[in-house]
């Protein structure tokens, strides 16, 4: 097994024994219960309220849970100096980062698949629209994981890392709105705003919620652009993280 695989394997080994990991079960149950509660109490269409809540809550639970897991696990390794034992071994620092990324991506994808299965079983939308939506969401999770690794390894402080990751997520979901507002205010800034749009994390690319809820047409081609964008963004974040960690004293 490669050293990247070894780092991933033991990260997964540790995470699955972490108490925080098992808090996922009550969180999942809570999301489901709240969706049913919304269905029963909604004054409009109960079915729509359920579908909307299910998708929103599963996304929120997954993102919050995975990010907390990444930040707490990596920060604990830095704080306890366990990271010293790992990076002084014959492995490059980029292998360490990549190994961690793979481990947390596996966890995020597994949770996403569970929620997708739940959505299919509960008839939240058509199979195709749900598959497209949750595939896009999986890509968003991978970007968020790499961002969380970059931020935590860079800042090495628990509160700052949590704030940094939350900030990245909020900016990511606000970029489109901010650019839209900017475009309405000053047309001459449009080229600059477009650069801003693609340069900043535009996480709104990874959301096909509207297609699921409105039963609109979706195709697998809808994943193509977000996949390329996610790939490019992951490479950029990975390079930033690796350049930073390679030049850093521990």
């Amino acid at each position: 097994m490669s050293r990247i695989g070894i780092v991933s394997l033991y990260t997964l080994q540790e995470v699955r024994r972490d108490r925080l990991f098992w808090s996922l079960i009550p969180l999942m149950c809570g999301a489901l219960a709240l969706s049913f509660f919304m269905r029963e109490t909604s004054i409009v269409s109960g079915e729509e309220a359920f579908n909307r809540s299910y998708i929103a809550l599963t996304m929120l639970v997954t993102t919050a849970f995975v990010m907390l897991l990444v930040v707490s696990s990596v920060y604990r390794e830095i704080d306890s100096k366990a990271i010293y034992m790992v990076i002084t071994k014959p492995l490059s620092r980029y292998e360490y980062v990549f190994g961690k990324f793979i481990a947390f991506s596996i966890i995020a994808i597994a949770i996403t698949v569970i929620f997708l299965s739940g959505a299919l079983a509960l008839g939240v939308g058509t199979a195709k629209s749900l598959a497209v939506h949750y595939s896009l969401f999986g890509l968003e999770q991978m970007i968020m994981i790499m961002a969380a690794l970059t931020i935590t390894l860079g800042l090495r402080s628990l509160p700052s890392s949590i704030l940094g990751v939350a900030g990245f997520y909020i900016i990511g979901h606000s970029t489109k709105k901010l650019v839209d507002i900017g475009m309405q205010m000053a047309q001459e800034w449009v080229p600059l705003l477009k650069v801003f749009y693609y340069l900043f994390p535009s996480l709104s690319f990874f959301n096909a919620q509207a297609a699921v809820l409105e039963k609109g047409l979706v195709s697998w081609a809808d994943i193509l652009f977000p996949s390329v964008y996610a790939g490019a963004y992951l490479v950029i974040l990975f390079l930033i993280c690796v350049i930073d960690i390679r030049k850093r004293d521990f």
Binding site: Q13, E14, R17, R76, K81, A82, T88, L91
Partner: protein, 241 residues
């Protein structure tokens, strides 16, 4: 030569942690690093094992740059106040460390090493979060010794251990020396160092003040090793007395 350090300097802003350090450690030597808190001991050890990468000068392990993969495959390191990942078991942790060196885990070897350090074998199957400080330190020592690297670098390896455990660790170090391993470690406890080190390097304010045998340190007109150590780092003390 196992370790070669040439004109090594490390600055944090305006603070100089290490200043023009020159040091050679031959294969099979056991060298103790002594200094007050903040003298630069940990900085020096971290530079050797590749944790500190921004420095001036040259650090070579078997004639290879210290932060390269080739050099790292010859070195194992135990940091000070270290705590292994709490949710792994002892076996998992040792296996993790060994596999990063590309070596398999042989339970017999692990159990034998645990036995040498009087760490009960059944405890190795339990999560590390249930270990006491001394047990975690012993596990860290196992992880540093089991890969069978040529050079073992340890930062305060005896801290957190009771007198009985310190004796066991010193015996384990003697066994490593017998095998021809190079040991470089820091400690505050001079009497312990005297027992396990062929050579003592005294560092003060980032500079090497003495590099010699424990006997040479004693010659600094001290009643005890501690007294002699203080005379080395504060020469005015000698003249005053």
């Amino acid at each position: 030569m196992s370790l070669t350090i040439k004109r090594l300097s490390k600055r944090y802003g305006t603070f100089t942690a290490l200043s023009e350090i020159d040091l050679d450690i031959r294969t099979g030597e056991s060298v103790g690093l002594v200094g007050l808190n903040g003298a630069g001991k940990t900085t020096l050890l971290k530079t050797i094992v590749g944790l500190i990468v921004n420095f001036e000068g040259e650090v070579l392990v078997h004639n290879r740059a210290a932060n390269g993969r080739e050099a790292k495959s010859h070195i194992s390191f135990l940091p000070e106040d270290f705590s292994p990942p709490p949710y792994l078991t002892g076996y998992d942790f040792v296996s993790y460390m060994l596999r990063l060196y590309g070596r398999p885990l042989y339970r017999n070897n692990v159990d034998e090493c645990a036995g040498t350090l009087e760490l009960q074998q059944n405890i190795l199957s339990k999560p590390i979060r249930t270990y006491s400080k001394g047990m975690r330190q012993k596990l860290g020592l196992m992880a540093a010794m089991l890969p069978d690297t040529d050079v073992v670098v340890l930062d305060e390896p005896l801290s957190g251990l009771d007198p009985g455990a310190r004796m066991l660790v010193k015996d384990a170090f003697s066994a490593l020396r017998t095998k021809g391993k190079t040991l470089f470690f820091s400690s505050h406890i001079l009497t312990d160092l005297e027992e396990i080190a062929d050579r003592l390097v005294i560092i003060h304010e980032g500079k090497i003040m003495l590099d010699g045998t424990p006997e040479e340190l004693r010659s600094y007109s001290g009643r005890s090793l501690e007294d002699a150590f203080l005379n080395v780092i504060r020469p005015q003390r000698t003249s005053a007395s």
